[in-house]
Amino acid sequence: MNEPNGIPVIRVKNMMKKFGDFVANDNLNFEVYKGEIFGFLGANGAGKTTAMKVLCGLSVPTSGEITVAGYDAYTQTEEIKRSIGYMSQKFSLYEDLTVEENFQFYAGIYKVPAKEIKPRLEESLNKVGLFEHRKKLIGSLPLGWKQKLAFSVATFHQPEIVFLDEPTSGVDPVARRNFWEQIFETSDRGITVFVTTHYMDEAEYCNRVSIMDQGKIVALDTPSKLKELYQVDNIFDLFLKIVR
């Protein structure tokens, strides 16, 4: 796990997002650094998804200064979309296409140069040990493999930041641990990982975590410092202490 080197790739200053009278994100302030694994925790309905949508260029914030990968969240959503990768809890691969075809499709929509697709594909698949399965339909593969592949697909175009929305829900503990190995390796390559999760043991793997409650960020620091500050043994207790 490498330490963040202090270059911010996401800057959020006084971010507000309202839907009518409802305030989904109330004055958020944080920065995420290059190569960092940033955990974004919070109960359901705390406003995580809303914030993530803004950071992914899917919705425009109500107010505040937000830049992602150096691009403005109001005016440069197209550029933001090009610089990020995204993986959701549903893994989002096409079950009726082969492993290879899924990669080709995403490579196409992210404009990966045609010459690079083949060597990169070989490299990514070898890394997760699934190269010999490249001609198989996604639908025929076990869940743990799909998850690995979905992550490889999300980082295939070498984005600056990859957003993972509860990437491990429904996967067994061993596969989860393997998956985190993949995340560490990605962050080592300098790709920033922004991850939401409901598993508190996973929060311990993050360089820094933020905890959201009712639209506000109520805690943000490294896991060890937070545990010290709130005098708890693990993030799970911390979470319960903060989010009542």
Binding site: E78, K81, S92, D96, L97, F105, I109
Partner: protein
């Protein structure tokens, strides 16, 4: 453009890989056409009839022979009393009984007036109606013949002519009708289901986060189905023309143009449906009930619009297939040109613009 191409390639892969999709796209149009053509034929061939001839003279014999000489009727039995009529109908084989009054020939020649009865089994009203029409036209043809040869006038002369479809060939109706149905099926149903599938499986989320623009996603969905709908349209026109003998009296260019307009209209409806449905099942249900059923029931495909209650007649005006069906029937059967049908085309273009605006709006709202 590269993004768009990657998307279209993916769509074609989905389509070609799924046997059910391929079945819907290629087998169903052909099967449906043949089914409508040969099984659900509204033409009558070899209907069983019975004759109760109370006169049994030269003229009734001749009329009987004329009737049987046509392809329409087969003589099942000769009855000897009016009491046998109902039991004959009840057996269900005989669809029509022809009754000549006593002294038919004599009365006709001496008094210029004779009566015959045509009794039909109207438990199937369409069939009864057609049998009635066929019989009358044969009898009146004989009357004409008779009046010429005997140089007598005064006979009731009933003339029949079915314009544009002299033999009342049902193919002339079901080929355009099937075309409307199939194009609706492929364009609207398949497109809405395929977009809803992306939502259901969560891949839509990833597409929206990607640099693909919403318009590229929509067009990427539309292009493959448009291609296939076009292929199917051509197949139906060709089968209709060469197998069922449906004429194309107007310009084929105009026909294909109208078809393409309808395909686009149906695709837009499919997109509209997909914006309001979260799952494939919902999309399918809405397409079936909202589009397929009206296409079958209210567009004039099977039931004549003129016979519908006023409310449904009014409703049929907002149905795209009604306009399409009207237009292509005019082009194919009447040989109508652009200047005859432009109001219809205008209505369809208007609908297209309306639905495109609506679905773009809906699609944007959903993104928020």
């Amino acid at each position: 453009m590269k993004r768009f191409r990657a998307f279209v390639v993916k769509e074609f892969r989905h389509m070609l890989r799924d046997p059910r999709t391929m079945l819907i796209l290629f087998a169903i149009p052909v099967i449906q056409l043949l089914l409508f053509g040969y099984v659900i034929s509204t033409e009558i061939k070899n209907a069983h009839i019975a004759i109760l001839d109370n006169s049994n003279d030269e003229i009734t014999q001749k009329i009987t022979n004329k009737l049987l000489a046509s392809d329409y009727f087969i003589l099942d039995s000769r009855l000897s009393s009016i009491k046998e009529v109902e039991p004959a109908f009840k057996k269900g084989i005989i669809k029509e009984v022809i009754v000549f009054e006593e002294g038919f020939g004599r009365k006709l020649l001496q008094e210029n007036k004779a009566s015959m009865q045509i009794l039909t089994d109207a438990s199937d009203p369409n069939l009864a109606n057609l049998l009635d029409i066929y019989t009358r036209s044969i009898v009146s043809a004989y009357q004409q013949e008779l009046s010429k040869s005997t140089l007598k006038s005064g006979l009731i002369n009933v003339e029949f002519r079915m314009f544009y479809n002299e033999e009342l060939k049902s193919a002339f109706l079901f080929v355009p009708g099937t075309m409307a149905l199939i194009l609706m099926l492929i364009s609207a149903l398949m497109t809405s289901v395929s977009i809803a599938r992306e939502k259901e499986l969560g891949t839509m989320e990833v597409l929206l986060v990607s640099p693909l623009r919403p318009i590229q996603i929509i067009l990427g969905k539309v292009v493959p189905y448009m291609t296939l709908a076009f292929v199917d349209m051509m197949a139906i026109i060709l089968i209709g023309h060469f197998v069922f003998g449906v004429p194309i009296r107007g310009s084929s260019f105009l026909l294909i143009g109208t078809g393409t307009l309808f395909i686009m209209l149906a695709l837009t409806l499919g997109i509209l449906i997909s914006t309001v449905s979260k799952t494939q099942q919902v999309a399918m249900l809405i397409s079936m009930v909202g589009l397929m059923l009206p296409t079958i029931l209210l567009s004039g495909f099977i039931f004549p619009i003129e016979n519908m209650p006023k409310v449904l007649q009014a409703f049929s005006f907002v149905l795209p297939p009604r306009w399409f069906l009207n237009t292509i029937k005019d082009i194919m059967l009447k040989g109508a040109g652009f200047f005859d049908i432009w109001p219809n085309l205008l209505v369809m273009v208007g609908m297209l613009i309306f639905f495109i605006t609506l679905s773009v709006k809906k699609f944007k709202i959903r993104l928020e």
